[in-house]
Every structure is written in structure tokens, then in C-alpha cells.
């Protein structure tokens, strides 16, 4: 599988921060690409800055727009420093068609699909139409935005309650409402529409059948510019809280190889239909009867890409670079082998016990677990500051094992060895999940946290006793220090004659 590493670009601007910036830098470095990152006033000592070849200092920049969202600023920098390519990471401008288009116009290589594809797949209504045209099962619904409450009720009468209202250009759970009867429709429709307007500048919403307790299964695909598309297996991202993923694993415990093939083929089909290029993710819902429905496509590298890397042995970011440089995929679908199991835990700086509220502060000390089965993608180190300006994810712990059981055992070890001082994290929550029977057997869906988790954080037996013991030990150590023999009075009495003779004059 040796490929000639002849990339279209020599330098790369990373329009992102945190762990993903570091992740991208590491692949770029392997392929001999020099990297540029942006330094902002919000986190002038962030870890990602230390990894890059060049830092562009924007800490004096104060035009009021978040630097990572400022299209003109970023394009301007790329031109000023003669940077050939931009990797947007995830979030920020990653799925902004306008940005991708500007890159194309300025002759900067955008690492991702074309702006046209981003636009199509970024609009859920268009994406769904494409799926229907290609005979991919979708969840029944309004086939596009609904224009009014009357419209909404009309659609609902066809597909039946419950339904879910979603923002046409949304994501991340905002502008989403579940409606179980006609009486609630008016209120919830308005709420969803207003919220969508505020969050995405587009108040149009669509309606679809709400599937109870589905699993969230997504397929990673890679597509080159020569029409070759492969899928790299699936990820089960059903452990979500308020539509935010917390744990992802690959492969999904419930998929057998024939279902995997069926869903994978569907994913490839939809990618081919839009002439997709680069790395992308096709998301499906899988209901209790193992029927699947196309949900949406993410046109970026995702947070959870490492679990796929772990079971395929591929470096997805490297492949993003190669594809963007026009290389052909060097393998066919049949050559892709999925081996073992990988689970990713998103360590967020959040206080699990107060409703996952963001917990900011300085990380006084952080110790990562290490070993053959553990991969750490981190954006922080000792002394890093967790600010309120960016999302709360600070570290990803990815554990692997030759099978799911072994991966779970490794996960337990890894989380027990992970230590952090200064901010609260989601680790106690993960420990609680690892003690949940349903999770351990793989029998879980997107309602897992809501329905199965009675306690959000795991406490060791006698945890309080142990804490009390350590506090007592600390106290006695302190007290011992205060005690008798440690004071040296003699030294105080030895005065130089100069001082002795002049002190009281």
C-alpha cells in the first residue's frame, strides 16, 4: 500500500484549536507539511500552540468576531503568509460552505469536500431529498421545511405522533422539540422555530417521525476525487446527553456483518450520489427492529474519528491530506478489515453533579494513563486554563481491546489512572456508565442516560472514608511540622558583632 507522498501543499493553516489542532499537526508533520496555528487572547498559552511550526499571533485582534469563525481574517492570513491549505478541524468553519468556496476562489486547498457538497449535505432537507431519491430509507416526515402550524399538523396526520421538530440548518440539539399530541404542536413549533432562528439564523424547521429509543449509528466514509468510495465501518454514538455525544465505540455491538454491509452500502450510495470527496460521516438511526433510517451526513472529520482509526489502522487525517491532493484510495472496500474494539470517552470539564455545567479553572495537575491499549488526544497539560470561551472538551481517552470485553476492562483501568486536579470532569460519570449492566452488555440506545442512569457519578466504596483519612494524614503532617524540634533557635542567637553592637544604638 505504499503511496507516493506528493501532496499539493507544503504548508497548512489549522483554523482550529485544542486537541484537534494537535491531532492535525501530528499527521501533517508525518507528511512533511509545515503547520500554522492561530494564537488568540482567550488562551494565549494553550497547548496546541507549542506543537505548531509557526504561530500567528492574533491576541491583539479585537474586531469582536471569534477568530476561528472569521472567514475574512483566516483567508487574509492564509494569503499573507502564503499558506497553501487550510484544515478546519471540527466545529467553527468546518461545515461552512461559504468558507470552503472562498478557499477555492483564493486557490487555497480546503481539506474537506467541495463547498457544493457541504451546502447540500449541510441542509437537512436537501440531504433527505437526495436520500429518498436514492432509495435510502429515511424517517417519514415533512419532506422539506414546514411553512406553518397548519402544514405541520397536516404532515403529522400522515405519519402519526410522536414527531420531532428540527431546525433545517441545525445541529447539536438546538431547535429540536418532540411533540406527542396535537395540543402541544403550536407551542412547541413556535419554540423550535424561534430557537432555530436565534441559533442558526434560519428559522425554518422540518418535521419527522420520532423514533423511540433508537441507536445512533454512523458510518465513516472516505471518498477520493476519482469516484472511489469506501466505508470504514460504523461507530455507535448512542451515549448522548441532550444530543451531545459522550461515549463512542466501534464497532457497534448490535451490528452483524450483513447489517453492516447493508448500512455501509447505503452510506456509500449516498456519498456517491452527491459526488462526495474526502472524509465524511453518514449518520443513521437504528430502531429496535434493526431497521435503519438515514439521518444526516457530516462533511468533516469528527471528534470520534479515533475509534475508527483504532479498528482500521488507518490515519484518517493523513488520508484527508492525500485525498485533497488528488490521490487515489490505495485500498478497496474488501481490503478494509475491522479488528478489535475501540471506545472513546470525551473528558469534558463539566461538573456532573450539577447538571453537567461547565467547570472552568486552572488544571493544576493532570496525569494521563498510558499503555498499548490507550490513546490520549489532549488539548491540555499541567497548568492549562479551561476558559469559558470554547467548548468544554479537554481530553479524549480512546481505549482498545481485541474484543469489547477487553476494551471495557482497559477502559476501567485507564479511567482509574487518569488524574486531574483543578477542574471537575466527566470521568466520574464514565465510571458510573462502566458499572451499568446495560452498557456492559451493549444493550443501550440514545435514551440510556435519561432512563438507565440513576446516579450520574460513580463513587468508590468508602470514598468518603478514604478522603477523610487523607485529610487526617495531611492534618497530622502539618501538625508535626508545627511541633517541637523543627525550630532552630541557635541560628537566631548567632549575631555578627557588627549587628550585635549596633542593634540597640
Amino acid at each position: 500500500m505504499k503511496i507516493k507522498e506528493d501532496l499539493k501543499f507544503k504548508s497548512l493553516l489549522i483554523a482550529n484549536r485544542g486537541e484537534i489542532a494537535i491531532r492535525i499537526i501530528s499527521s501533517a508533520r508525518k507528511l512533511g507539511v509545515s503547520t500554522f496555528v492561530l494564537k488568540t487572547a482567550k488562551e494565549p498559552k494553550a497547548l496546541y500552540l507549542k506543537h505548531a511550526d509557526r504561530i500567528i499571533d492574533l491576541s491583539e485582534n479585537n474586531n469582536g468576531i471569534n477568530e476561528f469563525l472569521d472567514v475574512e481574517l483566516i483567508i487574509g492570513i492564509a494569503k499573507q503568509y502564503e499558506i497553501d491549505a487550510i484544515h478546519p478541524g471540527y466545529g467553527f468553519l468546518a461545515e461552512n460552505a461559504m468558507f470552503a468556496e472562498r478557499c477555492a476562489l483564493e486557490n487555497i486547498c480546503f481539506i474537506g469536500p467541495t463547498h457544493d457538497v457541504i451546502h447540500k449535505m449541510g441542509n437537512k432537507t436537501i440531504a433527505k431529498e437526495i436520500a429518498i431519491k436514492n432509495k435510502i430509507p429515511v424517517v417519514g416526515g415533512s419532506n422539506g421545511a414546514v411553512k406553518s402550524i397548519v402544514d405541520a399538523l397536516q404532515v403529522t396526520s400522515e405519519i402519526g405522533f410522536p414527531v420531532i421538530i428540527k431546525a433545517s440548518s441545525g445541529g447539536g440539539g438546538r431547535g429540536m422539540r418532540i411533540v406527542t399530541n396535537a395540543d402541544e404542536m403550536e407551542k412547541l413549533y413556535n419554540l423550535a422555530s424561534v430557537e432555530a432562528g436565534k441559533a442558526f439564523n434560519d428559522s425554518s424547521v422540518f418535521i419527522e417521525k420520532y423514533i423511540r429509543n433508537p441507536k445512533h449509528i454512523e458510518f465513516q466514509i472516505l471518498a477520493d476525487e476519482h469516484g472511489n468510495v469506501v466505508h470504514l465501518g460504523e461507530r455507535d454514538c448512542s451515549i448522548q446527553r441532550k444530543h451531545q455525544k459522550l461515549i463512542e465505540e466501534a464497532p457497534a455491538a448490535v451490528l452483524n456483518s450483513s447489517l453492516r454491509k447493508k448500512m455501509g452500502d447505503a452510506a456509500i450510495k449516498i456519498a456517491k450520489a452527491v459526488k462526495y470527496t474526502n472524509a465524511g460521516t453518514v449518520e443513521f438511526l437504528l430502531d429496535e427492529n434493526l431497521d435503519f433510517y438515514f439521518m444526516e451526513m457530516n462533511t468533516r472529520i469528527q471528534v470520534e474519528h479515533p475509534v475508527t482509526e483504532a479498528i482500521t489502522g488507518l490515519d484518517l487525517i493523513e488520508w484527508q491530506f492525500r485525498i485533497a491532493s488528488g490521490h487515489k484510495l490505495s485500498f478497496t472496500q474488501d481490503e478494509i478489515k475491522l479488528a478489535g474494539c475501540a471506545i472513546e470517552f470525551r473528558i469534558n470539564a463539566e461538573d456532573v453533579e450539577s447538571n453537567f455545567s461547565p467547570n472552568q479553572g486552572t488544571i493544576n495537575r493532570i496525569n494521563f494513563p498510558n499503555g498499548k491499549y490507550i490513546r490520549i488526544d489532549t488539548g491540555v497539560e499541567n497548568g492549562s486554563v479551561v476558559t469559558p470561551y470554547f467548548d468544554s472538551m479537554i481530553v479524549k481517552i480512546i481505549v482498545t481491546g481485541s474484543n469489547r470485553l477487553k476494551a471495557l476492562a482497559n477502559a476501567r483501568t485507564a479511567l482509574n489512572k487518569f488524574m486531574i486536579e483543578g477542574v471537575k470532569t466527566t470521568v466520574p460519570f464514565f465510571k458510573a456508565v462502566l458499572n451499568n449492566e446495560k452498557f456492559l452488555t451493549g444493550n443501550y440506545n440514545t435514551s440510556f442516560i435519561e432512563k438507565e442512569m440513576t446516579v450520574y457519578s460513580y463513587k468508590e466504596e468508602n470514598e468518603e472514608m478514604v478522603a477523610a483519612l487523607f485529610a487526617a494524614m495531611d492534618f497530622y503532617k502539618d501538625e508535626k511540622l508545627e511541633n517541637e524540634s523543627y525550630i532552630d533557635y541557635k541560628k537566631g542567637k548567632n549575631l555578627s558583632p557588627w549587628l550585635f553592637n549596633n542593634r540597640l544604638k
Binding site: G383, E482, E484, Y486, I487, D488, Y489, G492, F500, R503
Partner: protein, 517 residues
Amino acid sequence: MHENEKNYKRYLLRNEQYKEQTQGLEAKKKQYLKSKLTASERLDILFDKDTFFEIDKFVLPIKPDFGKESLAYGDGVLTGVGMIMGRQVFVFAQDFNILGGSLGFTHARKIQKVQDMALKTGSPIVGLIDSGGAKIQDGITSLGGYAGIFHRNVQSSGVIPQISVVMGPAAGGAVYSPALTDFVFMTDKTSYMFVTGPNVVKEVLNEEVTSEELGGAMVHAKNSGVAQFVYEDEESTLKGVRKLLSFLPSNNLENPPYVKTKDVHNRIEEKLRDIIPSDPNKSYDVKTVIELIIDDGRFFEVSMHFAQNIVVGFARMNGNTIGIVANQPKVLAGTLDIASSMKAARFVRYCDCFNIPILAIEDVPGFMPGIDQEHNGIIKHGAKLLYAFSEATVPRITLILRKAYGGAYCVMNSKDIGSDFNFAWPTGEIAVMGPEGAVIIIYKRELAATEDPAKLKKELVEKYRSETTNPFVAEEKGFIDEVIDPAETRNKLILAFEITRNKAVIKPARKHGNIPL
């Protein structure tokens, strides 16, 4: 029975009786009901194990002028000497169980005896106060007794450390002995001090007030500043006394004790580089700075509840005691007002008495403006701090973190009032006044003439800031010895203290100066 044997029996009996009186069940019960310990238990906590040597156990009260004669041994006070962390310290501890710990002639004479011995031997003295006041029955001899104690307090002042620990009532004249000593400790909820009690207040002013509200521990810690230390129970109060003593020399000829530390002298502390917020109007906690600089981060704060806009306390640098006076930007922006000037002035003088080098940590926008401040005499009270710094002959070092403006700059141990080393961080702003105020005065005409005064003012402020209010100008003129990297502060300060260790100043001969009291 043989005469000798009889006396020996009597000796044993008396000891037995005394033990019962001071440590018996009855005595304990009475104190425990008030959440207090007996005098003898207090001494067990205060001193190293089995080191207390009691004197005058069996003295008896004099025959009273009026009322019944008492036959209690010791007359309501335990006196003696013991070891605290291996060093000799004199003590008197009033025993509330014996006649309410009231101070009669014999009681006073016992206290005076240990006061004299402490002064003769150059040893610290601690008084544990738990007394109903003067023994009325003893009449004038009781008053004379108080006065004799006060006089000895004054004679010992600045020669040996004197510490008062109020562990019960201290009313009337009794409060003046603690007031004359160097430090006052109080135990929360079980101790109070006042010159006139709630009854008199009611009679004269018709105001209802409880003892706790009038003179409880927190009142004196927060409002009056009379008590420097408050602890929640008696055991921690007495441990606090031990801790305080660990910073102090036995007398004014010695240096403070040395405590070996594992904290390296040239520890680099990068956090200090980020501690000053970039917005000049934002605050931070100066105690964080202190803790990052000193040995093991162990700061022993004095008067922590009173006038919190200034932080004072003891710490060690490379094993040697220093006293720290630091403006606290977190409270009232760190301005100097009446209370904070008095608090800091007294602390500086204390350090000077007992050869404790002083570190002034400065971030002060100026004196506190206001009618209330001016009318109550910020002029003379501010002058106390100026006087205290200026007269101090111990090594004196100043570290400017941020603001050092106007008169407050002069007061806070500036170069020209005799400071030995003055350092500043690059974030220092040293000037006669802040940029906003200064440009209005200097460019009054220009600002009036221009069409867009806001814009011009902004430009002028920037200009003023870059040309005047930075530490480099002061450094170039020699008012700052060195602008230092915040991360290396510890090393620099230790070096400066080492260099000045042998500092001695020959002062002009005089009886004593006239500090503006």
C-alpha cells in the same frame, strides 16, 4: 507523730487539695458547661509535654477590706514557665473557677512576678485571660495590682514578645493589659472584651446589647481590630499562639528562629507572570502572590478580618522570618484608608522591634478619598504608616506588582524613606497619579480646544501610560533597583534579604520619636 512526718503529710495534702481545685471534676464540669477548658488544661495544650513549672501555687489571697475571706490557693491565677517548641516562655493563666478569676492583690502580685522574670530573662510571656475583673473586696490593692501589670506591660514592650489570649470575659480595666501587649488572641463565642459592659451601656445610653455583640471575638477581629487572631475553639487558639511564637525571637536582641525548609530558594514560579490581569481595573488576590513567593506557601496572617484592604502577616524566606505588608487589590481596590494604615503601621513597628525584616508588596491606587476619611483623620493615621516604615531599621524591601501612585507610593516603603531594595514587576505603574486623572490636568487646554475630546483623551492616556506609568522610567532614574521577572521573584527577594541581613542603622540619640498617635 514526728514533726517532719507531719509536715510531709501536710505537703502531700496541700498538693492533693490544689490538684483537686485546679484539675478536679468539679472544676472541669464548670468550665465544660461554658465550652471552655480549665486553666490547667489550657497550659497542657500551650506547652510542650510535661514542661510546665508552676510557681506560687499556694499563695493565699490577702485578708479583704470588705466581705468574706477566701482560702483558695493561688488566688485564681496559675503562673509559671514552660517550654513552647523547646523554648522558655513565661505564662499566667487566670482560673475562672476560683472567685471568678477576679484580680486581687495576691493575684496581681503573682502576675507581676512572672512579668518581671520574663523581662529579666529576655523570654516571651503569654497571658491567658478569663476573669470577672477587679476583686472588689480587695479595694485599692486590686486597682494598684492592675496598674502594676500595665506598667510592666509597657516596660516590656518592644523588649520581649507579650501575647494575650482572651478565653473568657475581660471587662473594665482588665482590657488594658491585652491592649498594651503585642498580640491579642480570642476564642470565638466564649470570650469578650469591653471597657464598659452591656449593663452600663443600657443605663447610660439606654441601648440594649449583648456581651457578644458589644465585645465578642468577631467584633474585635472585624470592627475594632483589637484582636489580631480569632479561632473557633480553645485548642486551636492555643495552637495558634504556639505557631505565632515560632516566628518570633525571645527578645529584641535576638534574631527570629530559623526553620529549615525544603523549598528551594530559586524556585521559578511561572504562574506569577500571569497573575496581574491585563485590565487595570480588575483585581486579583495578593495572598496568591504571597503564597507563591514564600517558603512552602505557609503564610501566617495577622488581623485577617480587620481592614482587609491591606494584608499583613509572617512568613519565612529561605528559613528566616519576615513580615509582609501587602496591599490587597481585591478589597476596596487596595486603597489605604484609616483602618488599613493603622493596622499596617502597628505591624511594621512590631517587626522593627523584634528584628523581623519587612517585605512591602505594593499595588495601591492611592489613599481612600471621602469626607468620612478626611474628617476622621486619614492625615494623621496615614502618617502613622509613613512614620512606621520610615523609622524602621530592619531590612526593608519593596516589591511593586502594579499600581504605585501618589502619596501612597511614598508611604509604602519607597526608596526615599529608607527602603533597602525596591523591585518592580514589568506590570508596575509608578506615577504621581493615574493616566486618566493626569491628562485632564496636564492637557486641560488642549482637551477643551479639540473637537473630539474623548479621542484625544484616549490618545493622551496611551501616551502618558507608555511614557510615564511604567517601571522602566523609575528604574532608569534609580528609584527602582531592578525590574524583575515575576517568575524569579522568590530568588531575588531571598538574595536581597541575605544581602541586608547585617544591616544596622545608627540612629540619632533621642528619648523616643513622636509618632502621630
